[in-house]
């Protein structure tokens, strides 16, 4: 099944785009998707702990399973002020 990823701030810069479609199998969790798309990033674990995840614009825990056509957002904190 397909889901849509939505990138904010840091992730938008990292992936050079603000959204992307990915193909996942059933029972895939938010966490699985994160590490799948960031597998090359040496800081993936640290980033993971400091990223808010939202499915269809609501906060979710990283163990949440995804459904077809979900929109999963990676929301990092913004640093300055």
């Amino acid at each position: 099944m397909k889901i849509k990823l939505k990138f904010f701030a840091y992730y938008e810069t990292l992936f050079q785009k603000d959204e992307m479609e990915v193909e996942i199998s059933e029972h895939t969790t938010v966490r699985d998707v994160f590490f799948k798309v960031l597998h090359k990033n040496p800081h993936a674990h640290q980033l993971f702990k400091n990223t808010m995840f939202a499915v269809n614009q609501s906060y979710v825990q990283s163990a949440t399973k995804l459904n077809s056509d979900d929109e999963l957002a990676f929301i990092p904190p913004v640093a300055g002020g």
Binding site: N50, Y59, A79
Partner: protein, 339 residues
């Protein structure tokens, strides 16, 4: 006529005289009078917030002027809070303004913030934000978080009912998400974000409105998105504490610790972090958190330390501080020790 200067905002049926009175009775602290705080202070003073408490240890510099529109060229080199107070008082002499030319720290936070109704996080770093967050959870205070970097900003209200900032972002280290090559910002972007923060603050003061949302502003798309947020059961600050780290040794109860201490009393040290406990667990050393953070206590890097406090808020925080100092074996007792 009292409140004459506020006549136009009082014309809003939701505000009226009753709303204006609420604002004039409010005591609001602004932590940071920079990119976010300076433009927002202008509007909050003008709106008639009865008492503004300004906290910032920084001085005005030439590079501030493009976005910190409260300041003038004559202010360069002056303490921001002092310059801010001068300008704000000229714009509204009916309100009270307190200026503290110091950075927020563990030592001064309760003295500065214990009397305020609402705290505005206008800081530029996560160290200060987590300090505010922890204090607010502990003291059941409300704060509005705001941050801005390049073309993006975030705003959220955090109340005692939760979630807290650490529910969303658990251990942010400054620099992790920064694109160090080009961190800049336009004055208008910082102003939009700070005024969005002001809007959330006024909604709280006037209507006790809690959006339970993180607002994301994108200045390139001219878009504000709202994401529903929720309390995390295992939040280290407002929840039940660490769970996700499988490598973490956690002592769930006093019995477990007691056994360990009987086996090797010299190796394992139990520390009571509370300010003034009337009782202590058997064998515990009483060292208030402030003393540790001041660096007044020496720790042996080869020993094991187990920390406890009244609400498990201080312990995880102190654990991280000690680990940064190279004390590897620091653990938290999960059982609550109520006063």
């Amino acid at each position: 006529m009292p409140f004459k200067r506020y006549a136009i905002q009082m014309k809003l049926s939701e505000i009226g005289k009753a709303g204006q009175e609420k604002l004039s009775l409010a005591k609001v602290a602004m932590i940071g009078v920079g990119g976010l705080g300076a433009p927002l202070a202008l509007n909050l003073a003008a709106a008639g917030i009865g008492h503004l408490v300004l906290v910032d240890g920084d001085q005005v510099s030439l590079e501030n002027l493009h976005r910190q529109v409260l300041f003038t060229e004559e202010d360069i080199g002056k303490a921001k809070v002092v310059a801010a107070k001068t300008h704000l008082s000229k714009r509204n002499s009916e309100i009270k303004i307190s200026a503290y030319a110091e950075f927020l720290s563990f030592q001064n936070i309760s003295q500065l913030l214990s009397e305020v109704d609402l705290i505005l996080d206008c800081t530029d770093n996560f160290h200060a934000r987590f300090l505010i967050n922890q204090y607010c959870v502990e003291q059941k205070k409300v704060f509005v978080y705001a941050s801005v970097d390049q073309w993006r900003g975030q705003v959220a209200l955090f109340t005692p009912k939760g979630p807290c900032l650490a529910c969303l972002f658990s251990h942010v280290k400054d620099g992790l998400f920064q694109d160090c090559s080009q961190s800049g910002v336009l004055g208008v972007t910082a102003s939009v974000v700070s005024n969005l923060q002001g809007q959330v603050a006024l909604h709280w003061l006037l209507f006790q409105k809690d959006f339970s949302a993180l607002f994301l502003y994108d200045a390139k798309k001219l878009q504000i998105l709202s994401y529903k947020i929720q309390k995390q059961k295992y939040c280290e600050v407002c929840g039940e504490g660490v769970k996700e780290r499988s490598d973490e040794v956690i002592f769930k109860s006093w019995n477990e610790v007691s056994r360990l201490m009987q086996d090797a009393p010299d190796q394992n040290i139990l520390i009571d972090l509370r300010d003034a406990p009337t009782d202590a667990l058997k064998g515990a050393l009483h060292i208030p958190m402030v003393k540790i953070l001041n660096g007044a206590t020496a720790f042996d890097k080869n020993k094991t330390y187990i920390l406890y406090c009244e609400k498990r808020i201080k312990s995880p925080f102190v654990r991280e501080v000690l680990r940064k100092q190279g004390v590897a074996h620091v653990y938290v007792l999960q059982e609550r020790v109520d006063q």
